[in-house]
């Protein structure tokens, strides 16, 4: 008998039918990957198992855990089960811990609750489990508060809490989505280790087939609240018989089509942007009334060119300075020293006139398509925003230009009068790109533009970026922590670490033949679905 058997699960929240006849099983000691895009119901399936559903949820069907009927369990029985036999790890480590309690208290709390251990025993157990997940108390005291730890370290604390009592089942809901690739790889290794040692079953939920493909024994694919396909990982990944599975796999390894005959209008090799010896610093923390710590160098002596129509990738871990570099190119941050040239013109310290001309030259697209629009403006006005400074244009011309920009990104005239909330995440990111291209700039700085998007939408946006480059002669600086997207999209890649560019080369060279050890680590850490599929093919 399987450890967890879910059968005929139906869930409605406030009258909306969310899960439709969901059924699957999780075997003891096995890793089951649950994959689906946003809205597929994968997180709510997990919360149904935990019986932690939001208010006014209506759940029917059967959930049997180790012979115990969860669907019929009382709240009291569930409290005894949660944290003891079933542990859960969540997506967002930054908010998953109580900011006002020390890490030690939070780990000890569950131990004391379920075992009735004394404070001293609980502290010893907490120390042991924290040490085990890679946070030795000699280095990371139990008296630290969550804000004194990084995202990866906090996720380790959450994992320690969930695994402190050696649960039979660990549910990990997108445990690495908010983390960098290198940290992601380490957290996945940690989960793997805990599974092996404790003969624990792991339900690993992810939107990324690549993340689960390496670890999962079984795979469940969900879409729109239904299970599309479920079975042992190898045949599911290898055969990809179900069209949706195939579509997901293709989307996550998607390479945009390029026109082989396309050449930039200005001819190749001419730099649109030229950066030399750029240094950007943030003031140090105050240490006294008039003293500060030395400034923090976010960008440290960086030099590079971006050619006309080039798609340049900029990769690195969070905090490496890649966003600061992007901001300084947009004129949103004053460099401490160095030089930035647009088309040969010095724009390092722009006056107000140069600044308004820079708007015509460089535009930006940011990560969060939900937060980057004024909710009270309609799409026509949002897209026309960069034209605000152009007083010579009439309202009608601006509207025409906005429409043209919308059509350029595959949207329609009927979208002009909609508000931002009427669009889906992917459409909003198209809208952001339309806003960026409306005044025909030469360069767009895109800071993690696809990180918040589902894989299928990500593939469409990546296609759009290449298409716009060819149609509008646009150069792109594509900032991302996701190496697989960078590899398929970019012409050249810069690898950034601690404010410096440690390696630059063609996308192919960086991926296949990295020169620097750091680049090698980054490449190795990135989940690679293609490689897994290729390996499965070789094996049989």
């Amino acid at each position: 008998m399987a450890l967890l058997e879910v059968d005929g699960l139906n869930l409605s929240i406030r009258g909306r039918h969310i899960l439709k006849d969901v059924g699957f099983a999780i075997e003891r000691g096995k890793v089951t990957g649950v994959v689906g895009e946003s809205g597929s119901g994968k997180s709510l399936t997990a919360l149904s198992i935990m019986q932690l559903l939001p208010h006014r949820s209506d759940l029917s069907g059967s959930i049997r855990f180790d012979g115990f009927d969860i669907a019929a369990a009382s709240e009291r029985e569930m409290c005894a089960l949660r944290g003891d036999d079933i542990g859960m790890v969540f997506q967002e480590p930054m908010t998953a811990l109580n900011p006002l309690k020390t890490v030690g208290e939070q780990v000890m709390e569950g131990i004391r609750l379920h075992t009735g251990a004394t404070r001293k025993e609980a502290r010893e157990r907490a120390e042991a489990i924290l040490e085990h997940v890679g946070l030795p108390p000699s280095q990371y005291a139990l008296t630290r508060f969550p804000h004194e730890l990084s995202g990866g370290q906090r996720q380790r604390v959450v994992i320690a809490m969930a695994c402190a009592l050696r649960p039979k089942l660990l549910i990990a809901d997108e445990p690495t989505t908010a983390l960098d690739v290198v940290v992601q790889a380490r957290i996945l290794d940690l989960l793997n280790m805990l599974v092996d040692e404790n003969d624990m079953a792991l339900m690993l939920i992810s939107h990324d087939l690549g993340v689960v493909s390496d670890m999962a024994d079984d795979i469940v694919i969900m879409r729109g609240g239904e299970i599309v396909e479920a079975g042992p990982a190898i045949p599911v990944l290898k055969n990809r018989t179900h069209p949706y599975t195939r579509q997901l796999a293709e989307a996550s390894t998607h390479v945009p089509a390029r026109d082989p005959d396309w050449r930039p209008a200005d001819g190749e090799g001419k730099a649109v942007v030229s950066v030399s010896n750029l240094v950007c610093e943030y003031p140090g923390r105050r240490t006294g009334m008039f003293t500060r710590e030395p400034p923090f160098r976010a960008v440290d002596d960086v030099s590079f060119d971006i050619g006309a129509g080039e798609i340049a990738g900029l990769v690195g871990e969070s905090g490496c300075g890649k966003s600061t570099l992007g901001r300084s190119l947009l004129g949103l941050m004053q460099p401490s020293s160095g030089r930035i040239e647009f088309d040969g013109r010095d724009v390092t310290h722009p006056d107000s006139e140069t600044r308004s001309e820079m708007v015509e030259f460089v535009q930006a697209v940011f990560q969060d398509p939900f937060a980057s629009f004024n909710p009270r403006h309609k799409a026509g006005r949002l897209v026309a925003e960069p034209l605000f400074l152009r007083r010579e244009l009439s309202a009608a011309t601006k509207r025409d230009m906005a429409l043209e920009a919308l059509e350029n990104v595959g949207m329609h005239a009927s979208d002009l009068d909609k508000y931002a909330h009427e669009f889906s995440g992917g459409q909003r990111q198209r809208l952001a790109i339309a806003r960026a291209v409306v005044n025909q700039p030469r360069l767009i700085i895109a800071d993690e533009p696809v990180s918040a998007l589902d894989v299928s939408i990500r593939a469409q946006v990546v296609d759009l970026i290449v298409e716009l480059r060819e149609r509008l002669d646009l150069a792109w600086l594509f900032i991302s922590h996701d190496l697989s997207v960078v590899r398929s999209l970019c012409d050249t890649v810069m690898v950034m670490r601690s404010g410096r560019i440690v390696e630059r080369g063609s996308a192919q060279q960086i991926h296949d033949n990295p020169r620097e050890e750091y680049t090698r680590q980054l490449v190795a850490a990135a989940p690679d679905l293609e490689a897994v599929i290729a390996r499965l093919g070789d094996e049989g």
């Binding site: 935990m50 932690l52 208010h55 709240e75 009291r76 409290c79 005894a80 089960l81 949660r82 944290g83 003891d84 542990g87 859960m88 969540f90 967002e92 908010t95 998953a96 811990l97 109580n98 900011p99 006002l100 309690k101 709390e109 569950g110 609750l113 379920h114 508060f145 804000h147 959450v158 809490m161 969930a162 923390r285 105050r286 240490t287 006294g288 009334m289």
Partner: protein, 316 residues
């Protein structure tokens, strides 16, 4: 933490200094010659000039400001034009009524509001919650003097448990003092409790939606345990903010209640001093109240840091 307190203390001192300048300057530019006001419109110019000389009003502005400040450091806030007694003494007489009244009102309001807020938040959307919210809406809408009149009618006139008004002073015994202040404190506290319980409720509801509450529940904590152990302290910041504002209001913004109950409080003193153009009293009491508010805010800031470790970092 001590660094944090030192910084706060410094900013407290700077705020107070700026306050003295502003208070002095404002009263300097309001129209009306205090000497003439004191002597009445029929006084001769000579008499006015003599009084101006006596009051030191002919000295340069800077000198008068400095001597005011210098006096302050010696506990001398000047003499009242109308009462003829030192301002510090007047404030002292009133504060023994106003401060206990404010503290009692704050204690009563907190004692009502926090449990009500917790109860309503933990039963969000239920009929009880809706009823509580309706009652608090009523409590905010109704002016406190109306509560005061009702309380007097019921407890003082009908039940005769407490006096209907007046304050005999603490010399009559602490119990009798408290009995005199009880009804006004309750009348002041009710509307404040209504506001505070709504703030507490919404703060707790917001925290209950946070990810770390879900983490706590996933650990096996009951809904109730998660609320007590993880939500309450996180919900305190907005509650403490409102309490600080309410305390400042309760000390001097209570003139109507003081009038209803015939209490010799600070509110009445300020009101009378303003209508009688008694400049030293106005300056002295306003400065005292500013100082009180600044100190309250200082305590609120310290409380924030006690609640939230993220605020304790050096040189925030």
């Amino acid at each position: 933490m001590s660094w944090f307190i030192a910084r706060r203390l410094l900013s407290l001192a700077v705020t107070l200094l700026l306050a003295t300048v502003v208070i002095f300057a404002v009263l300097e530019i309001v129209p009306g010659d205090p000497a003439r006001l004191m002597l009445g419109i029929n006084a001769t110019d000579d008499a006015v000039a003599t009084l101006r000389e006596q009051l030191g009003l002919n000295q340069p502005v800077l000198m008068r400001y400095l001597s005011w400040i210098a006096g302050m450091f010696q506990g001398d806030l000047g003499h009242s034009f109308t009462y003829g007694s030192p301002v510090a003494e007047l404030i002292g007489e009133r504060i023994v009524v106003s401060l206990p009244l404010a503290l009692m009102a704050l204690a009563i309001s907190t004692a009502i509001a926090i449990p009500v807020g917790i109860y309503a938040a933990s039963r969000r959307g239920s009929a009880t919650d809706t009823a509580i919210m309706a009652v608090t809406q009523f409590g905010i809408a109704v002016p406190n003097f109306w509560f005061a009149l009702l309380l007097v009618y019921f407890f003082a006139i009908f039940l005769r448990w407490v006096p209907a008004g007046g304050f005999a002073g603490w010399d009559e015994g602490i119990a009798s003092g408290f009995r005199s202040l009880l009804l006004p404190a309750v009348a002041l506290a009710l509307p404040q409790a209504a506001i505070l319980s709504r703030v507490a409720r919404s703060a707790i509801i917001e925290v209950l939606g946070e990810d770390f509450i879900r983490t706590a529940r996933a650990k096996g904590l009951t809904r109730r345990a998660a609320l007590w152990r993880h939500a309450l302290r996180n919900a305190l910041i907005p509650v403490v903010t409102i309490m600080g504002l309410q305390f400042a209001f309760l000390l001097a913004g209570t003139i109507i209640i003081e009038n209803v109950f015939y209490l010799p409080g600070l509110g009445r003193l300020v009101y009378q001093a303003i209508t009688q153009h008694d400049l030293p009293v106005v300056q002295g009491t306003v400065l005292f109240l500013v100082g009180f508010v600044v100190v309250t805010n200082f305590l609120v800031d310290i409380t924030y840091a006690w609640i939230d470790p993220r605020l304790r970092r050096r040189g925030r």
